[in-house]
Symmetry: C2
Subunit: 406 residues, 2 copies
């Protein structure tokens, strides 16, 4: 029997305890070992829970228990999650987490501590909720392909808001308050809507794809607070959906580029129909081409599935751990604004001819009430785009610039 | 160094040899071992190939070579693929294949022979081309979830034909000959268009999901030859896309049900936008909910990626093999026609009132030129549906009955 402890009996912790208990037979049939939740750490008591007698308030009841071999850190935040994780691994226990903040911040060090102690540190649930994506990316795709890029819709809250704006014609503010009312956004939604959550996740995906962890603070991160309803309506008219995309890729010089920003995603490409709270992660390898992984990116039960799959993997005696990461050095990180891309540009102007003169061939065009919105046909860097906009003169008053993915 | 042999230097075999050579550094960095293609078996010579000096016409050059530890069977068909596979495993070599026919036919026995010899038999490339799906299904999803169902668009040729019919208004015959002209369909397309290829793949997915291999000959298999352009046009009007779907699920009595048939797939669900030669596989687990895997379902390079990922897995010393299967007994297999489902029914008739009287609440309705096409709102079994159609009388001349997925 493999004894497991759960740190944090919140949404994910209670789902994980329920899964391991309810699906005990499934797990035992598959890995040949019984997995049992022996202890749950929380500040609170849960007298009505079937797990009431296993609750403890003292981390030492877990760290010092030699029968517990796997610890699920489902507290969230950096502290005390970091201290508990280190203590557990130094005590010879493997640690599984859904905590993207700690992995994006301390991943290099925690993987090193795991390796030093001969234990596992696994975090499938930190990206894409229940979607199996980190392990297939690492062990199936990246093991035999040079990864060219990873693009993901990685945050359910912002995707829900953008979907509501599109489907109901809601403003950003109304869609956000609707999301809060439905429990899809927190009272303080800033980590979601400003793109920080997506930033942490793309840093983790980038580290799996390229072996180097880019510091979250150096990743250009733009959220969805500036996306207007007319951007979304124009996108649909032109054949795109607006999505918050985290991307990680290599530039022409082989440097790793990571960024988070709203994008126009072309209809007919696999990320475009990913709606509501769902997540989708697209991976391009030099042989496999584009593959995409899709599912529920959050929620108690899907996230518990990913946590439990890590637990089962360790309990079943997996030899393959997450490969160690190194921090990306400054000269290994490229500048996204120097990478040519297609752009959507919307401006108030009274002359369509000006636009074509200054921007060259235009792929798509929408005009409405004196505003003109275009999608460029040729890729330019952001600084080239800014020069074009400046050259167009003061009568071309730009209201939106949004990258077109692909 | 791990020495590999490739059997069959066709589309997949040549792609696999190219990948292992071109991406040698990627593989070595990831698994810590060099992988080398030592021998290639083919009836032909390839004097202009960079692999010319490694071609052999004699299987014994491979089976008797103690330096070769992994054999990639990329010949296709049942014989001599079966004999070569058995000989290689009995000689202590692991075997990797993209051959769905042999896995669906002899999978139980070949997994048993692998286990007896302490070697691997792996076949990620047999389903979904380059998409990592069998391993994530087995090792991430099914290991901790009770699998409720698997539904897949598993054949690129038929999906390309259906996409062409929808997008260009082509008849089935014209779309098929276009597919043949573009190299997306074989000169003899029957295995694809009659659903046999999809049948083999859903049997493999069902065995991974449920541990039991259902005999292909007992799987109800309907291809796309009966799908008309007006079915496709009506589907779009009603909010569906027509797709050839292989499904595996448990019925109310816990029996495994597997079938292949064209379906109306609701817009907004993840399989609906899977177009052209792409594949998509949707999996539902009791905790994870719906996850979907998407990518190129065929082609030299994507399929080579899946073959090579199996090779790398074995070369890297994976302990986890494919779990053994048992054949599904007759009383473990359920009858799909007894499972309630929604249906689309199209008929020539002169009275709309008759339809509502006989079929009850109707979800969607299209009428055109004396034909009436409906989507039922309540699930019925196929025999209940047949009774309703018979009761509607001879003036209700049914031209199409298509299941609605979900």
């Amino acid at each position: 029997m493999i004894n497991v402890a759960i740190l944090g009996f919140g949404v994910v912790g209670s789902g994980t305890a329920a899964l391991i208990t309810e699906n005990a037979d499934v797990i035992k049939n598959k890995i040949g070992e019984e997995v049992y939740v022996k202890r749950i750490l929380d500040l609170r008591d849960f007298p009505d829970s079937p797990f009431a007698d296993r609750i403890t308030h003292d981390i030492n009841d877990i760290v010092a228990d030699p029968e517990i071999s796997i610890v699920c850190e489902l507290i969230g935040g950096l502290h005390p999650a970091y201290e508990f994780t280190v203590a557990a691994m130094n005590a010879g226990k493997s640690v599984v987490t859904s905590n993207k903040e700690i992995v994006a911040t301390f991943g290099v060090e925690l993987l090193e501590i795991a390796a030093r102690n001969g234990v596992h540190y696994m975090f499938e649930a930190a990206v894409g909720g229940g979607i199996p994506v980190l392990r297939p990316l690492a062990e199936d795709v990246a093991v035999v392909n040079a990864i060219e890029r990873v693009d993901g819709i990685l945050n359910g809250t912002t995707n829900y808001i953008l979907t509501q704006m599109k489907e109901n014609g809601a403003s950003f503010a109304d869609a956000l308050s609707g999301a809060q009312k439905n429990g899809y956004a927190e009272a303080d939604p800033s980590a979601d809507i400003e793109g920080k959550d997506t930033c942490r996740k793309i840093c983790i995906l980038g580290a799996i794809a390229f072996g180097k962890l880019v510091d979250v603070s150096s990743v250009s991160t733009v959220g969805i607070t500036g996306v207007t309803l007319s951007d979304i309506e124009n996108a649909e008219k032109m054949g795109y959906s607006v999505k918050l995309i985290g991307s990680a890729f290599k530039d022409a010089e082989g440097r790793i580029v990571e960024l988070v920003r709203p994008c126009f995603v072309p209809h007919g490409t696999p990320l475009a129909p990913v709606s509501d709270v769902f997540n989708g992660i697209s991976v391009r390898g030099n042989y496999v081409g584009d593959v995409m992984f899709y599912g529920r990116g959050a929620g108690s039960e899907p996230t518990a599935s990913a946590v439990a799959s890590d637990v089962a993997r360790i309990a079943g005696g997996a030899a393959v751990a997450v490969a160690p990461w190194t921090p990306a050095a400054d000269n290994e990180v490229g500048d996204p604004s120097a990478v040519p891309a297609l752009y959507y540009v919307c401006a108030d102007t009274d002359s369509v001819i000006d636009v074509e003169k200054h921007f060259g061939a235009i792929g798509k065009l929408v005009t409405d009430n004196g505003s003109v919105c275009i999608v460029l046909r040729e890729k330019v860097t952001l600084s080239e785009l800014k020069e074009k906009i400046a050259a167009a003169g003061s009568s071309f008053a730009v209201s939106s610039v949004i990258e077109v993915l692909g």
